[in-house]
Symmetry: C2
Subunit: 227 residues, 2 copies
């Protein structure tokens, strides 16, 4: 009831920090819209008014959580790189369990339309594109699309974490589940699944289609939804 705090550093168990931490956890779990101000303050053990007093609004709190989580993430990663504790980022969560929560948070933030998370996404795409250009330029002719798809798939898989977890029988946001997922991911990256010839044949068919498609398409187009 009265908020079980784990191991907060001493000067950080102020009510303000408790609200922020509760918000991060709840935003990560249920998303921004799925979390009410009252949920947060109840989890933090304070009154709803205090949230407004400290943060002004729910939106402002969200932005503060965004920057906080993002800062902490790069902080943790740099720290680990400094200590040289690991070469493989996939193994990171098993060392620093809090980062799994942050992964979850950022994933949700992407779905919720957070601008900070979106720009982080863009940064990752840019970095991936550079990495490909330098280390594996032959994997695709369209480096940009390749990078975007890769980042989108990785973050998207986390967005589907409950379904993936259900299929796996393990929560991918636990160290154990995350490792299993990372293992499959490694296989994915290292072994070609499809025959390249078959793919180029398919691509040729796609190219043929591309020229012959009607200009209209679905999506947010208000027309063109048939029965």
């Amino acid at each position: 009831m009265t908020r079980p705090v784990g191991d907060p550093s001493f000067e950080d168990l102020t009510a303000r920090a408790r609200i922020r931490d509760a918000a991060i956890r709840l935003f990560a779990e249920r998303g921004m819209d799925g979390t009410t101000v009252r949920d947060i303050t109840q989890a933090a053990g304070v009154s709803p008014g205090l949230l407004r007093h400290h943060f002004g609004s729910k939106e402002a709190l969200r932005e503060e959580c965004d920057t906080y989580v993002l800062d902490r993430m790069i902080e943790i990663k740099q720290e680990l790189v400094f200590d040289g504790k690991l070469a493989n980022p996939a193994a990171l969560p098993s060392i620093h369990p809090t980062i799994l929560l942050y992964y979850k948070y950022v994933t949700q933030a992407l779905l919720d339309g957070s601008r900070s998370a979106a720009s982080m996404f863009d940064d990752m795409v840019a970095l991936t594109e550079q990495w490909i250009a330098k280390n594996a330029p032959d994997v695709s002719e369209d480096h940009r699309a390749y990078a975007a798809v890769m980042v989108g798939m990785q973050s998207g898989m986390l967005a589907m974490h409950n379904h993936v977890s259900r299929a796996l029988g393990v929560d991918v946001f636990t160290a154990e589940g995350h490792l299993r997922m990372a293992g499959a991911l490694a296989d994915f990256y290292s072994h070609p699944l499809l025959d390249p010839e078959l793919v180029t044949k398919a691509r040729r068919a796609m190219d043929a289609l591309r020229s012959s498609i009607p200009p209209t398409a679905a999506g947010d187009d208000p027309a063109a939804e048939g029965a």
Copy 2:
């Protein structure tokens, strides 16, 4: 204002069908929680009460939309396979633009926690697992995880469609954008990105970690959120 209908088959422009179609479009666009009953009925050009009259509740409407979309999807795919119009499912959207809307819908349904969509996900994982066991058993030792990750990545990437689209400069839910995405995806499947030796080395490090991890982990664990 009064609902621009595209090309509904005649007996299907009943108000009931209009409500369903509007709901499908709005659910796909904004998700279940982001769409209000009044939004739907306004888009369908009817009064809010009529939704309740025909469907009973918003939740019941959602379920009907779910089954409708899923049925239509397999119907369309079977039809296309029957006609032999294509061998490559990635090119499908350019032929049948409505299916892009359905893709979007199912993706959102997965995020919204729809049971029908979840069981569709499970089916796809099972099918993928079988396919791998038969056609590419050497890509991984953990066929289940590989299949789950693969399906999760594909559907998840669509969940991140706005971010991927932003990075690409094209909406991936248009025929043009979808083709570009599919192209990158094909590269992804056909060319190994990482050196297998490097991966097996990383995997060995992961195995070492797996035995030495603390039993606790983040996620929905109420404790263990540090400062």
